[in-house]
């Protein structure tokens, strides 16, 4: 058991070390959130009528924060494919550790990477005047952590069905971009036509984003205009699907890895 924990931490640390050495990646991960919050959020806020009842900038900020944490962890997990192509995964796969430890280590490592990015976004939020009290941040932290872990498990499920880095690069945007809009990262989804309503509610990212907004707007008057579900409902959905994605994804991944 101690060996498995050591292995999980070792694999997680490697991913974090890799981030610290990859300056281009650090920069790239900040560009999109800054564009979305800084330009999209600010311009929408300036041009929408002031009577919508809440700040659009804050709405986009909370959405992008959760979306970045979810997506960054998911795409980080896909780097297992890159490892496979660089043959580094062989080094991991011939070691005497449980395959689940490999996956969990990978999810934790990418979670740490995403949380570091999350800190950058929070700092940017403070800079552009998003109201962030210490109390709010304290509750946003576990919500962010859940977004990361959920994204990681989602990443494993996607990964287990992909053959190469190329197919990952081609398919991943198709899986992620619709979720941006259906999860309501930049657009309100409180009321939707029935078809879109169903699609929106089956997207995993919806729950990560809604949980983040749930804790951010917990005691605010805007809550009823923005938040879809209760915190406990979001936590329940995320937990259940986290376990399903993780178990199913890992089982498929291991099966595909050995049966060629």
């Amino acid at each position: 058991m101690i060996n498995q924990i050591t292995a999980i931490l070792t694999i997680a640390q490697r991913d974090f070390t890799k981030l610290l050495r990859d300056r281009a990646r650090i920069l790239a991960t900040f560009i999109f959130p800054f564009l979305f919050i800084g330009i999209l959020g600010t311009s929408l806020e300036s041009n929408l009528p002031p009577n919508i009842g809440y700040s659009f900038k804050v709405f986009v900020f909370t959405g992008v924060l959760a979306q970045t944490l979810f997506q960054s962890t998911a795409s980080g997990i896909i780097s297992l494919i890159e490892d496979r192509e660089n043959d580094f995964s062989q080094e991991i796969f011939v070691s005497p550790i449980s395959r689940y430890s490999i996956i969990i280590g990978k999810i934790l490592g990418e979670t740490a990477v995403s949380m570091a990015q999350g800190l950058g976004i929070i700092a940017f939020g403070l800079l552009i005047g998003i109201p962030l009290s210490l109390e709010k941040l304290t509750f946003m932290f576990p919500a962010g952590l859940m977004a990361c872990l959920f994204g990681g498990a989602f990443g494993i499920l996607v990964l287990s069905n992909l053959k190469s880095q190329r197919s990952a690069n081609q398919i991943f945007p198709f899986i992620i971009f619709p979720q941006f809009f259906l999860a309501g990262v930049f657009n309100p989804i409180k009321t939707l036509p029935p078809f879109l309503h169903i699609l929106s509610r089956v997207m995993p990212m919806t729950y990560a984003v809604d949980l983040m907004r749930g804790v951010y707007y917990a005691n605010s008057p805007e809550k009823n205009l923005i938040v879809l579900h209760s915190i406990s409902w979001n936590v329940l959905v995320i937990s259940v699907f986290f376990i399903i994605f993780l178990l199913l994804g890992t089982a498929l991944f291991i099966k595909n890895e050995k049966n060629k």
Partner: protein, 313 residues
Amino acid sequence: MLEKIIEVKKLVKKYKKANKPAVDSITFDVKKGEFFALLGPNGAGKTTIISILTTILNKSGGEVKIVGFDIDKEADKIRKNIGIIFQNPSLDLNLTAEENIRFHALIYGLYPFRPSFSLMPEEYRREVFKLAEIIGIKKDIVKPVKTFSGGMKRKLEIVRSLIHKPKILFLDEPTSGLDPVSRRNLWKYLQDIRKRYKTTIFLTTHYLEEAEDADRILIIDRGKIVTLGTPAKIKKELIDSSIILNAKDKAALKSELDAMKLDYEGHGPFKIKLNGKNPQKIIKSIRSDLTYLDINNPKLEDAYLKLIAKGIK
């Protein structure tokens, strides 16, 4: 009788989308401490076999036992006892040499997790420096692996795979992509490791000269065994060593060869097949004045090429 450390019975591997099996009912074993070479041309099935033996690929049929453990049921126990050098380097190029070694040591459960080199136990730090010294990368141990040459990377991989003291070291074409000097150096180093740690070595290669030093060679081609034995035995089986003689008085030489009941071809020069006979003895007993003498003792390489060519036909 030496203990069998690898036992393979009727091993079959058929890839999902292939018509023919890549490995077709192969049976062999490797004894403890042996230097065993698996030799064959590209596409013979070498990498498939080594991937199965090292638990990263499922077999389609047959039985495999490594260090006494069944490959289907006890893969974890096998993994603890083997070290592997893959055909393609499996280092993380973003990490330093030491970080690569530490990663390995930690996932093999040799030490408890520590986030940095300086926090690792004294024993580990000493071991790393010792190993780095042996392969001559002591100065570069904290440098990122991407700055390393091909030869250095290989050596680093070997050091890394030895840190958990494996009973068997698998090497899948370890010298491919290396220049001749690095190849020779690596080879010397491996021999040294073998003496020092008494590790069983299982090697695949398509360079015959590398297999010539092995205790036994298994030659495979298109998934099937061509021959198995010591290099001397394989040589004897495959190679027809001969001496070529000529004399002014060809008739006299011919009658001498006839008298000795030798197996020869030609009418001068004569090509005499040795069939295991000592060439010196033959030459000593010849009275005729020789005008030409040559010993044709082909290397195993020639025999191997001939064998593979035969297979291709």
